[in-house]
């Protein structure tokens, strides 16, 4: 009887995993099948041309810019915020409030972030439609993910590590930097990877704040177009699924490389394990 149940449970796990794999393969397969024909050197490294046949190099650069800047801003803020909530704050009203705020941020549709960013960063702070406005908007979007995943990672660091370190007369900060955060790296990393996904996948929040200028950005105050915004525009107006899919392939490769890099860095940080 128990055995039957066990097999059943195991079956459920396998089926779920297989479903996930099927979904993955279908989607990625779809994107590759639809998009591979457009792939060539000049498509990737060429400049954009509004009359067609151009490449997507400016969008690739813009995408990388946006990811880097958003992560550089959001990761420390998010990790530190999680550290505050988990390691410093007395668990109480304040913490619950911050946590609630953070979680409520996750469900706001990106178009609202975009409109907010357009009013706040673009107009009020006068950053203009620019990569920096978009990155700041994206920072708000991904903060909840970074904060929450980091918090969870911190929770799993055994209390005995903290005790062991503090008992040696180290400060909380030292304990945090040398013992706690390194042990939490895998969790933080998964948050960062998810955030990269969120940044890459975003369109509405970006085109309202960075615009859609299809040229190589001259700096972080330039308007620019990310790959996803590009694929959004070509789907929306031209309905060009092949082009959107080709952009999808490029994005998948970018994410793949970034994830590998992130994992590599985390292994480096964690080498004693």
């Amino acid at each position: 009887m128990n055995k039957v149940k066990d097999h059943l449970l195991q079956g459920i796990l396998w089926i779920s995993a297989i479903l996930t794999i099927v979904i993955l393969v279908t989607i990625i397969g779809f994107i590759f099948l639809k998009g591979y024909k457009l792939m060539n050197i000049s498509f990737i490294f060429g400049d954009y041309s509004p009359t067609g046949g151009g490449g997507i190099w400016p969008m690739i650069i813009t995408t990388i810019y946006t990811i880097m800047i958003s992560l550089v801003i959001a990761t420390p803020i998010g990790v530190f915020a999680a550290v505050y909530l988990q390691e410093y704050a007395k668990q109480g009203r304040l913490v619950r409030m911050i946590r609630f705020a953070t979680e409520s941020l996750t469900g706001i549709p990106s178009i609202i972030y975009g409109l907010f960013g357009a009013v706040f960063f673009v107009a009020t702070l006068n950053f203009g439609m620019s990569i920096i406005s978009a990155s700041l908007t994206l920072t708000i979007i991904i903060l909840p993910v970074v904060i929450r995943t980091t918090e969870e990672a911190l929770k799993t660091v055994p209390q005995s590590y903290r005790e062991g370190s503090l008992a040696l007369g180290t400060t909380k900060l030292q304990t945090l930097l040398k013992v706690i955060l390194p042990s939490a790296v895998p969790g933080i990393l998964s948050g960062i990877i998810l955030s990269m996904g969120r940044i890459i996948g975003e369109s509405a929040a970006i085109f309202l704040t960075a615009g859609t200028v299809a040229a190589l950005p001259e700096g972080i105050f330039s308007s620019a177009r990310t790959l996803t915004v590009h694929s959004y525009l070509v789907t929306q107006e031209a309905g060009d699924i092949e082009l959107a899919s080709a952009i999808g392939i490029v994005l998948i490769v970018i994410i793949f490389v970034l994830n590998l890099t992130a994992t590599y860095i985390s292994n480096k940080l964690n080498k004693a394990d």
């Binding site: 190589l216 308007s223 309905g239």
Partner: protein, 251 residues
């Protein structure tokens, strides 16, 4: 190609409609070659573009819808730079290839629910419309003669020409409307009152489904570079680019 652009070059910022955007990009590409300015085009939607031009975030806004009274009151001026033809499209397998304006109205208001009633196969009609506020939709409804509240409730709403096209292309029951420039062989254009949807027929006014593309700006924000770009668009050279792009020139 902006690589050789130096700081000395003037940057003209334009933002707005995603339907006007592609055309504006093509015009800008040509104009940048002969003038000494940079043109930044941001396709963020008509309303955002209009707001940007009112707030001075952009010098010129692009709109595919008419300005509201409020917007005009805030001092915006408009210039029509081209016309956009609108065509009713069905799935390529659909046998119905010609409709009267009345029939189109009956379809979109739900009076006619089956293609059989229009001489097609016995199957349900799936209506695909643009979203509320869309310039194409406003123009289409006005010319065909029904209001938003008359639109059949079960109509699918798609944002943008591309999404309508893809929706119709993947559903043999469907009927929708898109701009001329997006027509390709994945969908089938329908004649209206026997008249084919062509630029020529729009210009000779035998085909009635069209609406204007606008540039909007506040006079006090418009630089001489901005003015000369508008002048370029209205010139024969500019209008040739318009018609090459599959869009209807002014004359």
């Amino acid at each position: 190609d902006n690589e050789d652009s130096s700081n000395a070059r003037y940057t003209l910022s334009i933002s707005g409609s995603t339907s006007v955007g592609p055309l504006a990009e093509k015009l800008a590409e040509k104009y940048e070659q002969q003038s000494k300015i940079n043109i930044e085009i941001n396709q963020v939607g008509s309303s955002a573009g209009i707001t940007n031009s009112i707030k001075g975030v952009s010098e010129i806004g692009m709109s595919s819808r008419d300005l509201t009274e409020e917007e005009i009151a805030s001092g915006l001026k408009e210039t029509i730079i081209a016309y956009d033809g609108i065509v009713v499209v069905t799935h390529p397998s659909n046998k119905v290839g010609d409709l009267t304006i009345e029939e189109v109205k009956d379809i979109f208001t739900g009076k006619v629910k089956n293609w059989k009633q229009l001489g097609g196969d016995d199957m349900e009609i799936v209506v695909v419309s643009r979203e509320d506020g869309s310039g194409s939709r406003d123009a289409f409804q006005e010319i065909v003669g029904y209001s938003s509240s008359e639109l059949i409730k079960s109509a699918l709403i798609a944002s943008g020409n591309g999404n309508i096209k893809n929706t119709v292309a993947t559903n043999k029951h469907a009927v929708g409307f898109i701009s001329f420039e997006y027509i390709d062989d994945t969908v089938q254009p329908v004649k209206i009152n026997g008249v084919e949807a062509t630029t020529k027929n729009v210009l000779n006014q035998s085909y009635r489904l069209s609406r204007p593309f606008l540039f909007v700006y506040k006079m006090e924000n418009l630089s001489k570079e901005g003015q000369s770009f508008i002048d370029f668009i209205l010139s024969p050279e500019g209008q040739k680019i318009v018609s090459d792009a599959g869009i209807i020139p002014l004359k």
